[in-house]
């Protein structure tokens, strides 16, 4: 596994851990509920935290699986290239 891929995986795991803590923090403070009400402007800071949470959740659930599989496919292709050797631009 390349250092680059390992670095990416570490970032993904960190994001999952942040999500794990954030969902508990938000549950304790009931912050996300504020975002979904029209008066959220009165609570800008919590609303921004909540917005960040929603964005993080969308990223983790919708995008992360695709990115992980792409990493794996890309890794396999790199491995195949290594075995068969680099292909020049002339090919």
């Amino acid at each position: 596994m390349s250092k680059r891929l390992a670095g990416k995986l570490v970032i993904y795991v960190l994001l999952l851990i942040i999500h794990w803590f954030l969902i508990r923090y938000l549950a304790d403070r009931q912050i996300v509920a504020t975002l979904f009400s029209a008066g959220a402007a009165e609570h800008l800071a919590p609303a921004l935290i909540a917005l960040g949470f929603v964005a993080l959740r969308l990223f983790l659930v919708l995008l992360l699986p695709g990115l992980l599989v792409c990493e794996v496919v890309n890794g396999i292709l790199n491995f195949c290239d290594k075995i068969s050797g680099p292909i020049s631009d002339e090919a």
Partner: protein, 394 residues
């Protein structure tokens, strides 16, 4: 293939050739995996798994036993804060009733919770939003035919009737009778067949709750309203269900009953839920119209549109936030419709969206939907425990 004279690094062309493949792989995974993962508990919920129901029930129980006030909500409008406080106790109470119907052995534990919800709904703190609008107390003016209070009395009476179905000799039977008789008299006296939620504001969906509460009580303890209710239903279907789409019209003029808003998802889906207690066939018709006209997908996640296809509209306090035309309220309320009318596929699709947006958190035996707050959790509880209609097939 190895080229002896080629460069030793992976060329740009080689990387460029991969990009379309990786895009296809990414799209395929995003389309197929997340919604399936988010829906993994849907079969258990569809089968009313006792542990899951208990988890959400405990979370809602914790909410209703907290010292909730209007100020616990931040809608930006005092009336809506009051409505949300009212809605929290109402939906929690109905949810507890449904849980007791699904699991009769839990009745003893749930009855005190249901009664606490009813007491809260009857309290001055909760009904103040309705008093502010009408400038009269809805309970003290039950003998005044001009004081409609359709929403407060209609939904409260539905809770009382559903509870009466569960406990025929409960301590709220008298108030259930008084409210039912008052509402029946107002329905019969109305020129347009509907009564007002707030002065000069008429919403067919609130009248579905009025009808459902009165008709359920009539079924449990028959009085003289049977014929009036049958005529009312006929009139309602003829005038307030959109002929083209089969959806409920959202709002009508209080003078002549003419539509002043479009047929919409939030009203229709809540209407079909409250009607399911007494009119399963009418509820099914509304559910089928919802499924045909409003249901859709985004990346496999199910959603229910607020407006029919081709109609452009904006979100409001009824619809909740709208994304790509899908409304939060109509999507949430449709979960109950899919359970009641045994549409497993739609239930699964909608549940995946609930999981994604609701962010459920399980801890200490409770399952709480983090983005829901008190009202959201109470609604989710009521929707996920909606009792399927007897008979029929999936």
């Amino acid at each position: 293939m190895k080229k002896e004279n080629g460069p030793t690094h992976f060329s740009l062309l080689s990387v460029m050739r991969r990009i379309p493949l990786l895009i296809v792989v990414f799209a395929l995974v995003a389309w197929q995996v997340p919604h399936r993962w988010a829906a993994r508990h849907a079969p258990d919920w569809y089968a009313s798994d006792p542990a899951l129901v208990t988890g959400v029930s405990r979370s809602v129980q914790a909410w209703v036993q907290r010292d909730l006030k209007q100020s616990s909500f931040n809608t930006g409008d005092v009336r809506f804060d009051g409505e949300w406080l009212f809605g929290t106790y109402l939906m929690a109470g109905i949810g507890f009733c449904q849980e007791a119907m699904l699991f009769p052995d839990r009745r003893e534990h749930l009855v005190p919770l249901i009664e606490e919800c009813v007491e809260q709904v009857l309290s001055d703190e909760v009904k103040v939003f309705d008093i502010s609008a009408w400038r009269t107390d809805p309970i003290e003016t039950l003998d005044d035919p001009d004081q409609h209070h359709a929403a407060y009395l209609g939904y409260l009476n539905l809770l009382l009737s559903v509870y009466r179905q569960l406990e025929p000799k409960n301590r709220f039977v008298k108030i259930n009778d008084r409210i039912s008789d008052a509402l029946a008299a107002r329905m019969a006296a109305s020129r347009i067949g509907l009564i007002q939620t707030y002065p000069q504001e008429v919403y067919p969906v609130d009248n579905c709750a009025v009808y459902s509460g009165v008709a359920l009580r009539e079924r449990l303890a028959p009085t003289i309203h049977g014929d009036m209710l049958a005529r009312w239903k006929e009139h309602f279907v003829r005038d307030y269900v959109d002929k083209e789409t089969g959806l409920l019209i959202q709002a009508v003029n209080f003078r002549d009953g003419e539509a002043i808003d479009d047929p919409r998802g939030s009203g229709t889906t809540l209407g079909l839920y409250v009607l399911s207690f007494v009119e399963p066939e009418f509820s099914r018709q509304l559910f089928e119209a919802t499924r045909d006209q409003l249901a859709g997908h985004f990346l496999g996640f199910g959603g229910v549109r607020e407006y029919p296809r081709g109609v452009v509209g904006f979100g409001d306090i009824d619809s909740g936030p709208m994304v790509f035309g899908f409304g939060m309220s109509s999507t949430g309320f449709s979960i109950a419709g899919a359970r009641i009318h045994k549409d497993r596929e739609l239930f699964t699709d909608l549940f995946s969206t609930l999981y994604m947006c609701g962010a459920p958190l399980k801890r200490k035996g409770e399952i709480e939907y983090v983005s829901g707050g008190p009202l959201g959790n109470a609604i989710v509880f009521a929707m996920l425990t909606a009792v399927p209609t007897a008979g029929g097939t999936e």
